[in-house]
Amino acid sequence: MQRYSGFGLVKHALSHHENWERQWRNPTPKKQYDVIIVGGGGHGLATAYYLAKEFGVKNVAVIEKGWLGGGNTARNTTIVRSNYLWDESAVLYEHAMKLWEGLSQDLNYNVMFSQRGVLNLGHTLQDMRDIQRRVNANRLNGIDGEVLDAKGVQALVPIMDCSKNARYPVMGASWQPRAGVARHDAVAWGYARGADAHGVDILQQTEVTGFKIRDGQIYGVHTNRGDIEAKTVGCVAAGNSSVLAKMGGFNLPLESHPLQALVSEPIKPILDTVVMSNQVHGYISQSDKGDLVIGAGIDGYNGYGQRGSYPTVEHTLQAIVEMFPIFSRVRMNRQWGGIVDTCPDACPIISKTPVKGLYFNCGWGTGGFKATPGSGHVFAASLAKGEMHPIAEPFSMFRFHSGALIDEHGAAGVAH
């Protein structure tokens, strides 16, 4: 792998950038791999990367039906935080956070992880109770955070309406300084480049059309480019997970919904943190390019169209202008949608399945991006060892049989 650095950039500039290498190959599928990852998004590529780099499994294929990083990795609003309520999720997202903190260096690819802090606003007494509870739990779990009052919020975000005139005046917020945003595409590309360098075959424009299963054990996949064999298959296909599960002969308790996001035109830097509000129902940050990056909740209906309904956009912007009246004259440039796979308890599934050797990592709903490194890492460990990583264990699909749910609806109140 060609190493990247400022020095290298200068060197390449002097040779007119004619000597940059491919960031990943475009290989021909082999007949057989040790592990197949279905889904070349951030989570799938991270899984492949850690499999090869940390767990010594290098004969790996990532099968992607479109272009790598083209699903929700390319469509989310890039917020990264780990201030989750329940121990199980807090450990998982904090595991991811720690990996985020060294990711650019580990990948030798600047994913522009910007720890500019995330505010989760409280507007009611119950909001504030929940915030205190969550921040207290985070602290005892070793996750940074503090409870701010309205003044503290105003000091961090002077342009927000923190007055009593607001419909739901800001009473305070939780503040996680280590949280922030990252450059989503770069995450997929960095993992792809890293995985490729460790020998992983990334097979784009390759669609899995079925599983090869014998006696309850998987031994390969059918694709539009022929059959490929592997005794371990990990599916990381977000909104299309239920479709894949069906091919495996079982159901997952997932609903696929459109989740929309939108950006303004680029404007000069004006917002330095991420601001999220469940009650007013919207969230916002500003990209390094200057776009205000905005989102809110999922569309209520199920669907696989990567677009959503207009009322959701209206509600979202109403919330943003309610919080930031000065943005009324800023203009919306573009909206788009992704397909999010939501679980009944707003927590992911990282799990074995009824089919031996077939694993699923899905159900991240609206919050998958922030977990990318952690999700990939624990999934890779599980695939490599054939046993679920302890952090992944609580997220078994069989929890819906036992009832051991991890209800993070509070944390997932707005999509994030």
Binding site: G6, M112, R129, E265, D288, R307, E314, P325, M332
Partner: protein
């Protein structure tokens, strides 16, 4: 000052401007003049302003390129005062008004002499696409510092810092036929559809309808085309079934023919909406149109050629040159070189020449151009250089010369010697790209047509494209297609349209165009001077080539790696060229490379317009009870609960000083415990449930039993979701055999009604039962405390005797002379009557209660006191003690579960799962702080070993915590793992400030454990 001196590039005649009036405006602090009918761009060109901005990445000087929505460079900040600021206004689409104030969005210290430009010039080669992914990584701790400087270069315009003085609104519109774009095709279509009687909406983004016909050199019926436009518009305006919306952009095309139209109503008049008859006009309006049929007559955008230095001011689209001359009476230079791949481009040279300016040469990429316009140019004596192209524009702040050479398109190389032609303007035309954005919004994939070298819209139901949008460019054909589309659309929506006799258009001979996108240079793309593809984002042909070398092969990857098409113009000019360059590098065809998906908005839309009226006071309705004014007058502080404003507490003035919340709540609590208090409980959700199966329905949605609840009786019910977790609670009363009144939590009312409907409609449609929300119909006044009976007896005819009107009974009768339902239930533990009357009577009843209550010490109390009193009794609040992970058994409410009911109920199965049956679940308990003065923090986490290292195992948390005036101590409710078995044990609460509190696990009932007080 004479006009000619002021506007030195203004032509003496021609254009659709009103020369009789002069408007003055300011750009970058400099005063200029223009005329009504100008856009800001045409007025700037008339005044010879070359540099309108600096580019985003390299800070290169940029001038106006286009005349419409596709303009990438002329992005300005508008606004004469802070509140009126508008960022990123496209000067080509901003009508000039008197007093307009604008400035460039980039450039320091100013756009003419920009220091960042030096950085761009020197450092440009170190900033290939994706350079930031490859550097700024060491040391890791420095990224935030690097980022701070990177961010300094971010953004175009700036946000206003004051609230918007203007307002916006929404119209919901329905029509049979929506025509998007009122050029030749759109007007023909509208005419055909309108004459059939169909309801037609015509939306056009420009100041005037007519599209290219307003500046066309072609004639209709031998007359200037704009005369036909005027006639058609006149006819359309006379129809009642037609709505004409100029200055209105169709921005988004959503499923089921739902189109959003953004109408700019006042932006041509000023930077804030004018006041008319004392009312400020609506600045913009969003039309949410549901159309039977949509006709996309959106025309086409001209593609520029990609050659070196093509971003230097003075490089324009050929069509834009014509538009400025013919529509605005401005020649954007003196000496023109035209570089074209097709016949259409020739019109710019003809217009230029007719305007009296010099055409240095037409450079045509084709070896043997032939056609009527080519002949016309020859006849005018214009020099035509064939088989060649402008390979490079010279100049820094303005074009000074064009370098022209023979090119071999197939071999992609310069094949002859280079000659330099002195000029100040280079116009280029690489053909047209149909405007397919709207069709693309619906998910329809566009298809490539090699014959027109462009993508045309994919097919969608209910939509038809015509004219330029479909790749048809000959005026006669465009009109015919428009009429046909109009007739078909009308017919599809049930109208019979007659044919429209079309005006005769000139039949012009045209030669075929050649496929030219990027022009070769003597040097390779990577080594040669920059050739810009996306001007706004400084994406070059070299950048695209580099991306493909690095393995970015999907067009989506290329776009994301280079930022091509991510600007506010969304790649209207550059995307097809970019795809063509990618195709060349990848040795694929353009359709193989494919197109990216266009997303709404077509052009950016003001947030305010999308928000409409749903902001400020109308963001979300505030719900008030019928007694709200009384609470306000009484000085209550309010709490937001759902949409309701509920009195939180009533601070009194004591010795001229307002009570603190603690003082007020202590006073209110003691009043209830010792005398009598009153709560406005009207906000509790009330659902009227009727039908022969009402009882069974209740038994299915609640965990407890309902078979035996007699008329006149009330029962507390717990509701679970299908996961067995408590979701709501409340008292339901049997009003008559098949008639119940359910109460819900205040915040949960709407969701519970939906929940009931969901189960009834989807799972149990066989049950004969129906629901109506009656929350607002009834006002609820809770009088509670030892004196409650005496007070009520004074003003009610109901027999209140404790043995005949028992706890959990309800009675109807008169209270204060009006019909009332009185419920003997209690949320405080005290003797309580909940009086329900029609909301309109509430104030009268409330005041009567106070008239009689004074002697008993009747005290109004708010939600905070309610919380303390119920917690003293261990009564839960759903959403506070519960969080979606708590079962009835966790709450110690086994008594409310009817496992042996004759039918299954929601949550039953879940409650038998292994995890819900597990021991050591978190269970509701009381906590008594070891120090009675301590009031624990709500949300404090509970641990068994406070010395444990982080992460410290947590066993639960405090759900409610208060100071109890009657007990004179702090107390709390909490959920603790295995808590029901831990009574008497000590737990610890380590706080953020380093303190650790100790508390004992106790019963949840802190006061009157036997429950005697409600029965006094």
């Amino acid at each position: 000052m004479s006009q000619s001196k002021q506007q030195m590039f203004r032509l003496n005649t021609g254009g659709r401007i009103d020369r009789s009036r002069t408007l003055s405006f300011t750009f970058n602090g400099q005063r200029y003049q223009g005329h009504p009918g100008d856009t800001l761009a045409s007025a700037l060109l008339a005044n010879g302003v070359d540099i309108v901005n600096r580019s985003f990445k390299y800070s290169r000087p940029r001038g106006i390129v286009a005349a419409g929505a596709e303009e990438p460079n002329a992005i300005v900040q508008l606004g004469s005062n802070e509140a009126a600021q508008v960022p990123n206004v496209r000067a080509t689409q901003q009508a000039l008004f008197d007093g307009l104030t604008a400035c460039s969005t980039n450039g320091w210290p100013n756009v003419q002499r920009d220091l960042m430009g030096l950085v761009g010039k020197l450092g440009g080669q170190f900033m290939p696409p994706g350079f930031y992914y490859k550097t700024f990584m060491a040391p890791a701790s420095m990224w935030l510092t690097y980022e701070k400087y990177i961010r300094k270069a971010a953004g175009l315009g700036r946000s206003p810092m004051e609230a918007d003085p203007d307002s916006y609104d929404h119209f919901n519109q329905h029509c049979d036929v929506l025509v998007v774009g009122a050029g030749a095709a759109g007007l023909a279509a509208a005419l055909a559809a309108a004459r059939s009687g169909a309801r037609v909406i015509v939306a056009d983004e420009q100041e005037e309808m007519g599209g290219s016909l307003l500046a066309s050199r072609e004639t209709l019926e031998g007359k200037p085309a704009d005369q036909w436009v005027a006639r058609v518009l006149g006819e359309l305006a006379s129809y009642e079934n037609v709505t004409l919306l100029p200055r209105t952009t169709a921005n988004g095309y959503h499923d089921h023919n739902f189109v959003t139209l953004h109408e700019r109503r006042t932006e041509h008049l000023g930077d804030t909406a004018p006041v008319e008859n004392g009312h400020r006009q609506v600045r913009a309006r969003l039309h949410r149109v549901r159309a039977g049929q949509v006709i996309l007559s959106t025309g086409a955008h001209e593609r520029p050629l990609v050659y070196a230095g093509n971003d230097v001011p003075g490089n324009l689209l050929a069509g834009a040159v014509s538009t400025y001359i013919r529509r605005y009476g401005v020649a954007p230079g003196r000496k023109l070189v035209l570089s074209t791949s097709n016949d259409y481009g020739y019109r710019a040279a003809l217009d230029w020449k007719e305007a009296g300016c010099e055409v240095v040469a037409i450079v045509d990429a084709r070896e043997a151009p032939a056609g009527d316009w080519v002949d016309a140019a020859r006849a005018q004596g214009i020099k035509i250089i064939t088989g060649s192209a402008v390979i490079e524009a010279k100049g820094s702040n303005r074009v000074t010369a064009a370098r022209v050479a023979k090119i071999d398109i197939d071999a992609f190389k310069v094949s002859g010697p280079v000659q330099e032609l002195a000029c100040d303007t280079i116009a280029s035309s690489g053909g047209y790209s149909p405007v397919i954005h709207l069709a693309s919004h619906t998910g329809a994939r566009p298809t490539w047509r090699e014959d027109i070298l462009g993508f045309v819209p994919g097919l969608v139901k209910g939509v038809q494209a015509c004219g330029g949008a479909k790749g048809t460019y000959t005026l006669g054909d465009v009109l015919a297609e428009g009429v046909e589309a109009g007739i078909r659309a009308a017919a599809t929506t049930g109208y019979t349209a007659q044919t429209v006799s079309l005006p005769s258009a000139e039949r012009l001979q045209q030669g075929p165009a050649v496929a030219l996108f990027q022009v070769p240079h003597e040097k390779s793309t990577l080594r040669g001077p920059k050739q810009f593809v996306d001007l706004q984002n400084d994406v070059t042909a070299a950048g695209i080539e580099l991306a493909t070398r690095e393995g970015f092969e999907s067009i989506e990857h290329i776009k994301r790696y280079t930022a091509m098409g991510f600007g506010t113009d969304q790649g209207k000019l550059g995307n097809i060229n970019g795809m063509a360059i990618a195709a060349r590098c990848l040795k694929r065809s353009i359709p193989e490379v494919g197109t990216t998906v266009f997303r709404p908005n077509y052009t950016p839309v003001t947030f305010g317009a999308i928000v409409g009226r749903h902001c400020r006071d109308l963001f979300d309705p505030e719900r008030y009870t019928a007694l709200h004014h009384w609470h306000v007058e009484r000085g209550a502080e309010f709490e937001d609960v759902g949409q309701w404003k509920r009195p939180w507490y009533y601070p009194q003035k004591v010795n001229g000083k307002a009570e603190t919340i603690q003082e007020a709540v202590a006073r209110e609590c003691l009043a209830v415990r010792e005398k009598v208090g009153i709560l406005d409980a009207s906000t509790l959700g009330k659902i009227d449930i009727q039908g022969p199966d009402a009882r069974e329905f209740l038994a299915r949605v609640y965990t407890n039993k309902w078979e035996k609840l007699a008329v006149g009786k009330c029962r507390y019910g717990l509701m679970c979701k299908d996961d067995g977790m408590v979701t709501d609670d409340g008292v339901t009363s049997c009003l008559a055999e098949n008639h119940f009144l359910m109460t819900t939590t205040t915040g949960g009312a709407a969701a519970i009604l939906e929940w009931l409907e969901l189960w009834h409609q989807t799972e149990w449609p066989e049950l004969d039962v129906y629901f109506s929300s009656v929350t607002d119909h009834w006002a609820t006044m809770t009088i509670t405390g030892p004196e409650a009976r005496k007070l009520l007896a004074e003003i009610s005819d109901i027999d209140l005797d404790r043995d005949s009107f028992k706890f959990m009974d309800w009675r109807s009768g008169k209270v204060a002379g009006v019909p009332a339902r009185v419920f003997r239930i209690s949320f405080t533990g005290e003797l309580t009557f909940e009086i329900n009357v029609q909301a309109n009577y509430a104030m009268h009843v409330w005041q009567t209660l106070f008239k009689h209550g004074e002697k008993y010490g009747l005290t109004p109390y708010g939600t905070e006191t309610m919380h303390v009193l119920r917690a003293e009794k261990g009564f839960i609040i759903v959403g506070q003690e519960t969080d979606g992970s708590v079962t009835p058994e966790d709450l110690g409410m086994q008594w409310a579960i009817g496992y042996d009911k004759p039918y299954s109920w929601i949550g039953k199965r879940a409650l038998t799962r292994s995890d819900t049956k597990r021991e050591n679940r978190k269970q509701l308990v009381g906590l008594r702080p070891k120090d009675p003065k301590v009031v624990l923090e709500e949300g404090a986490q509970i641990v068994l070993d406070p010395k444990h290292a982080i992460p410290m195992p947590m066993v639960g948390h405090v759900t409610s915590s208060y100071y109890s005036p009657i007990l004179d101590s702090g107390f709390a409710l909490a959920v603790v793992k295995g808590g029901h078995q831990r009574l008497g044990e000590t737990v610890y609460l380590p706080m953020a400030d380093g303190q650790t509190f100790e508390a004992e696990i106790v019963s949840t009932i802190f006061y009157d454990p036997k429950g005697e007080r409600q029965n006094v």
